[in-house]
Symmetry: C2
DNA sequence: TGCGTAGTAGTAACATGTTACCCATGGCGA
DNA sequence: TCGCCATGGGTAACATGTTACTACTACGCA
């Protein structure tokens, strides 16, 4: 494991970030509602400094917006934002998949296979939370294989902004099985060290699930396919 | 102009970021040297809070590293880092150029033409500082045309990390003229709304100047072409 | 009723105090 | 000579105080 760049206990700032994320997931923070930074600091029993920093970072990723002298709001990304995000993901993850296919060694494939199995199990259990978790792990493994740390960081940030939408979307669309199936060609291509095929499969996967996300967030004014064409092309 | 999201005076944090950038450019901060956050705060006559935040942000972009309980250092990206950065730029800017070609209107082309002229003048003057400035403006215009705000932000961050290297590299290689010439096919393609050609030209440009940068930063252990192949592919 | 305006609550941004921690150094004993 | 540990300088992270704004509110005037 090349990990462990931060073996020391998470700072209050980091814990606050996590707390806000959790709060968003479990409904403590309702998207659109206005919240006070001071009160949040009180609730978490920390001072305003780490809370302030945490919110600034979350705002950078687009997860919350800060309204000057008013407080902060949790933001659900709209269809346009999601289209932008998916455009970046496609641009970065498609070539990353190709690289991964070229560079994967036996132990890498084993790790991928493990995630695949976990995903499959989650499908059988109908557990979309676990499914999304392993889905992200799998994409993370591929990015790690590609070896570009900048890409990894960028995608991690984007993921944050979409996770919330993903949860609700994928559930209502009942397509765990389909999304799972889309991963298989990617893994097969990696298995065969076929970079071209891996890229194609990844693109297809991102397009498919991306449009699913877009549809979940689209209003009647949004033309999902047109948005996709405009941003991702 | 859809700009002006921050019409208010820059905060001390922002001014500190700028101060550090300037300091790096004009040699006040020597790469590799260790500097004290406290002393920097004193020197700028501000408190530690904004300086701390500024350095944290700069550290995120990779421009400086923070050594725990020791201070901070300015980092010159190595060949590997540059390869990673260029990989991201290629992945994002090549499709962006295609989009830009599709969407450019008359006034957009006029703006691009203005930058081209300014670049040309800078070439004639042998002024690589001005040249790089307009080069960045031109790339910025294309990204704006493509319309993805995430992409814009990401590239802006990457630029920061490379600017320093670019300055010294492009001067020694005396290739202002060549780099300028590489932009022309891109602009021609945009003029003709030829997305494919724009993408090709942008890729070629980024590959050429990217390798130039890599060579400038490479040690005897680095094989530039191999690095490029590994990361950008 | 409509509108400007003083008043008020609440905050962003910054300054400063505090604590625990890390690292380098030098003395000391084996 | 080498390794160990106490010590002190210096910092990261956090807590808290302070100030200048900003957006809302309500009041009074037309």
């Amino acid at each position: 494991m090349p990990a462990a760049p931060t073996p020391r206990p998470p700072s209050l700032t980091e814990r606050t970030i996590e707390a806000v994320r959790d709060g968003i997931r479990n409904g403590t923070f309702v998207p659109g509602e206005l919240y006070s930074v001071y009160q949040l600091a009180d609730r978490l029993a920390v001072s305003r400094s780490p809370v302030r920093e945490a919110l600034l970072r979350l705002a950078e990723t687009g997860m919350v917006t800060i309204e000057k002298n008013r407080g902060f709001r949790v933001v659900l990304p709209g269809a346009r934002e999601l289209a932008e995000i998916m455009a970046v993901r496609v641009a970065l993850e498609v070539p990353a998949a190709a690289h991964a296919a070229r560079r994967a060694g036996p132990q890498d494939r084993e790790a991928l296979e493990k995630e695949r199995e976990a995903m499959q199990q989650a499908v059988l259990d109908g557990d979309e939370g676990t499914f999304l978790l392993h889905d992200q792990h799998l994409h993370g493994l591929l990015l790690n294989l590609a070896g570009n740390s900048r890409t990894i960081r960028i995608i991690a940030n984007l993921r944050d902004a979409t996770r919330l939408v993903g949860m609700s979307t994928i559930r209502t669309s009942r397509s765990l099985e389909e999304v799972y199936a889309e991963h298989l060609p990617i893994l097969t291509a990696v298995e065969h060290s076929d970079a071209e095929a891996a890229a194609r499969a990844m693109r297809r996967h991102l397009e498919s699930t991306g449009k699913l996300l877009l549809r979940g967030a689209a209003t009647e004014n949004d033309d999902v396919d047109r948005l996709w064409e405009d941003y991702v092309g």
